[in-house]
Amino acid sequence: MSIATHDTPGAHSHDDHAHGGHHEIGFVRKYIFSTDHKVIGIQFLITTMLMLMVGGALALGVRWQLAFPWQWMPIAGDLEVFQQQGGIISPEFYTMLFTMHATVMIFLVIIPVLAGAFGNFLIPLQIGADDMAFPTLNMLSYWFMWPAIFCFGISFVIGGVTAGPAAGWTSYPVLSAIISAAPGSGPAQTFWLLAVTFVGVSSMMGSVNYMTTIINMRAPGMTLFRMPMTIWGMFITAILQAFALPVLTAAGFMVLFDRTMGTCFFVPAGLVVNNADPTIGGGQPLLWQHLFWFYSHPAVYIMLLPAMGMVSDILCTFARKPLFGYKPMVYSMSAIAGLGFIVWGHHMFTSGMNPALGMTFMVSTMMIALPSAVKTFNWIGTLWGGHLHFTTPMLNAIAFVSMFIVGGLSGIFMAAVPVDLYIHDTYFIVAHFHYVLFGATLFGVFGAIHFWFPKMFGRMMNDTVGKIHFVLTFIGFNGTFFTMHLLGVAGMPRRLADPYNYPYLEHLLPMNQFMTYSALLMGFAQFLLLGNFFYSMFWGPKCGRNPWHANGLEWDAPSPPPHGNFESIPIVYRGPYEYSSPETDKDYLPQTEYISPRPAPAPSTA
């Protein structure tokens, strides 16, 4: 698989290998079926970056149709398979496109890049462990991604370009539970569900591993409140994943059996779909929505909390200031996680759910904005009066904060039932979740890539290219997604292949075209990132252990760290954010540095 060869450079500059004192292991064990958390992390990272391009291409397909409906597709239109449709995007294909775009981005990019790539790479390094608690399980969790990718791939191609998984990433029954509901999607939707199960197993293995590692393998002195926010983010994410994901896996099995074995958990009685026989059953479609969102709302925080953590680290490093309110940050993160379990119903306001529940969920959803706001103000407080260094990671981190504010605010709009009744399933929703998922999480990930790249490969990425990539992406992003708020308020529904069928939406075409151009700009900007990444991997300037003068334990290890990470067990004396401390002349104070004489300040918080 392509991954294997791409990974090779991951450790090609293992010049400090001598420290580890490990006997040489073969190529395959070292780079492919490796149990080293860093290699696995980089495998995840590269896989997800490739998947990002795939998902992006699918999104551009969607955008093409919305800007130039029923027109011949550039590039793909020439392909053999599209000839029957005359090289255009058919409504069925459009449905497949947005279903698979969301699927790929959520299950194969955002979740694995945060937990899989950065979780793997950073957890042992930042807590001062030599590896994960269960290295083999860790390797398996990566390799379980491949059956998932494979099954998603099959589901996309098996029915040709006119039939495929077409129930959206939310896969609501009865569309997903009755085979005849989406003609031709029989095996495709089934494979899709299988793939989700594989992703679930992979994530479950990962999360048990992370929790055990973080609880039990911290270096001496690394108390809970000396952990970097990244670790807190990963830890809370792992908890969310461990307790929410099994519910989705179970529900996935239920809908799978509804499709294939005649069970009827989600199939009501007597439904006639596509002139097939009336269904027998007595199940309840809404049950799926409950189970699905019981997972998927916590999942949106799974897709955010690690990025919040990483961004906190980056902001402090480049503001040369301690994190503003460390403990409130930890508590608000926990509060988000806790509340995250009791707000799932805000996705179901219009579903016909018990109105009493709608009220409850509205209140709890409004409440979750509080800890989110605490975090935002703390980030701003961190920046306030700092010595800001506008490096690429810093720019991306600041974009994270500002875009999260926009996305969080639109979230509060939708949390109000009366407002949501109007904007549910419009482009307003699409704008909301792209602001939080792309605007926040993905910018955070871009920042993290630039920030920890030197640790991964011992080389620096090009800062100028990084900045150009940032600016183009930022402009393209806002051009694409800010406009969606306006479309939403104008009433344009999501998931509609040809909105211009409806006269009241006709005037939105130029706006959609503008968005598509912005999206194209954004899409092409990503090649800069890929180019910069792979070029720097081989030819970037070499760097030392601590190019950013940061405090975390990971900067204490060689770059790249050998198998086993640290030369000797690091001992931790303080929290990770002691920048510009009066105790020393440098403007940073690594967690491992021991200063004896002076009286101790309160640890970690500042």
């Binding site: 007597g270 006639v272 059953g281 007595g282 309840q284």
Partner: protein
Amino acid sequence: MTEEHHDHPHVNYWRIFGYLCIFTVASVIADVMDIRRLYNLTALAAVVLLIACFKASYVMRYFMHLKFEGGWKYIILLPTTVLALAIPFALASDIGIHYYDVDVPQQNTLLEKEMQAADESADHDQHDHDHDAAEDGGGH
């Protein structure tokens, strides 16, 4: 790991076994006594689920040695228990009560057609019968 990890307190496992058996028999008796008839289903459910909780607590405390573990057991098990209870409780208020009607409109039209067909060739009784059948199909 080292075998002297904890000083394992001695538990008389057979005694626990005895309790578990007694509890099992008790729940079977609850079934045979037909509490469902005497009171109602809820009472039966409460009794047997309570018994199940007792059994579970014995298995967890003694067989799984939780009684002798440190405070971490609460950190892992309490949130899990809360979440596990939250699902049925929250869903019961929607799926369980379901104040709305799950009748599928198409089904009603089908049944109406069936009824009409039956009406044409039937007497008064016939009509009643199909009417009942229609209610059955509703799946309330």
